[in-house]
């Protein structure tokens, strides 16, 4: 009777198998987060870029970057804040590079972000003023404004997302709204004093 011996996998094969198993587990975990992560990344990028097509690209890039570095994130509870920062930074970089490109191409052209036909149709005049004013305020104020305007974000959650105290979020929000109001007051009504 012939005896059959199954070859045991070597330590290298064992490690490779464990690595693949860990990678598959991380992939599953990441995919479970996608349903809420995709809208978050898209909306943050859309708020900065004012353009759906560009925001889609940036959201995708942010998610892929987050996936590649997902194992470095030890505390998975902070995933949303981490993703917000990645998406916001990528969107800001894209705006800046677009501005540089426009400056290179035409010196005298008006430096307005590219707006698609659907966006133009959807936006009212006040809305376009608002988005322009939003693009002019500083990054830290803009991010707080966008996150606070997103559905389901309380101030406490924004503080957790950004890793700043609640009081900081409140003060940033207050000054950001005030700043926007100063820029938009002339488009609504002039307040005269006596």
């Amino acid at each position: 009777m012939q005896e059959l011996v199954l070859p045991q996998p070597g330590p290298m094969a064992q490690r490779e198998w464990e690595r693949q198993a860990a990678g598959a587990a991380e992939r599953q975990e990441f995919e479970a987060l996608l349903s809420e992560a995709v809208p978050l990344a898209f909306r943050v990028a859309r708020g900065v870029l004012r353009n759906s097509a560009d925001a889609e690209d940036v959201a995708q890039e942010a998610l892929l970057r987050a996936y590649r570095r997902f194992d470095r994130l030890r505390d998975r509870q902070r995933f949303r804040g981490w993703l917000v920062r990645i998406a916001f930074r990528l969107a800001i970089d894209r705006v800046r590079s677009a501005k540089r490109r426009e400056q290179r191409e035409t010196l005298w052209s008006q430096s307005e972000p590219r707006v698609s036909t659907e966006d133009t149709a959807a936006a009212s005049e006040f809305q376009s003023h608002l988005e322009r004013a939003l693009a002019e305020i500083s990054d830290k104020y803009r991010l707080v404004l966008l996150l606070s305007a997103m559905e389901g974000h309380t101030l406490e959650e924004i503080a957790r997302l950004l890793g700043v105290p609640l009081g900081t979020v409140k003060s940033r929000l207050f000054f950001a709204r005030k700043h926007l109001a100063e820029k938009l007051r002339c488009h609504v009504t002039l307040t005269k004093t006596r």
């Binding site: 759906s52 194992d71 207050f174 109001a181 004093t193």
Partner: protein, 223 residues
């Protein structure tokens, strides 16, 4: 028109700040300030509504599937230390082997080829040396056995490196050893223990000293 004294307070109140008691009592009887506050509150409401539109834009339905498709193209995330560890380990291993090979590489002066070079007859006077005569009488120097030797003219080497003397029978073996040394780094060296030669005591004739004849000085008392 609102009152100038309350202008900033009205704006801040509309922005969400607490309304002071002084402003509250002023608003009770000042219709213009009430209207201004309402206008400011309408402005902030418009801003908030506009921000909600910006921040809650409709997500393209294909975005999730597009991201999933791109995830399939991505390699599975590796542990963060792997990309760092691999080049560092490779560099360390490479450095170790380089240092080790530098340590093990025999120096030119210590190779048999170089040693042999000092055995080359250097002058007619040295050609008649006992070594040469030994070579003629059946003992060959290593210089004859080793090919491609480079004569060295360093006086230091001449004086310090011992000569390698082999018999004619061992010439072939020495040549083979030299070839092996040249072809591979660690040549096998076979040693043979020879019986110790029997020495004969040297016989020396004892020295003979004649007895000394000591004589007293004759004129010692006269001085």
């Amino acid at each position: 028109m609102p009152c100038n004294a309350y202008k900033d307070a009205l704006i801040e109140a509309a922005a969400g700040a607490n309304i002071s008691s002084a402003l509250r009592s002023h608003l009770e009887f000042c219709a213009d300030c009430r209207a201004a506050l309402a206008g400011e509150q309408a402005l902030y409401a418009s801003i908030d509504a506009g921000l909600r539109v910006v921040a809650n834009a409709a997500v393209p339905p294909a975005l999730v599937s597009s991201v999933r498709a791109h995830l399939d193209e991505q390699p599975a995330p590796r542990p963060w230390f792997v990309p760092v560890f691999v080049p560092v380990a490779a560099a360390l291993v490479l450095t170790f082997f380089i240092l080790r090979s530098l340590q093990l590489r025999p120096e030119k002066s210590s190779t048999p080829t170089t040693r042999a070079s000092v055995n080359e007859p250097r002058s007619p006077h040295q050609a008649a040396s006992p070594m040469e005569s030994a070579s003629n009488s059946g003992v060959a120097t290593a210089s004859r056995a080793l090919p491609h030797h480079t004569p060295s003219h360093e006086p230091f080497e001449r004086n310090t490196i011992p000569e390698v003397l082999v018999t004619r029978d061992d010439e072939a073996l020495l040549l083979q050893y030299a070839q092996e040394w040249g072809s591979q780094r660690h040549a096998r060296l076979t040693a043979e223990v020879l019986p110790s030669p029997s020495y004969r005591l040297l016989e020396v004739t004892p020295i003979q000293i004649a007895p000394l004849d000591v004589k007293p000085l004759e004129d010692a008392g006269s001085r």
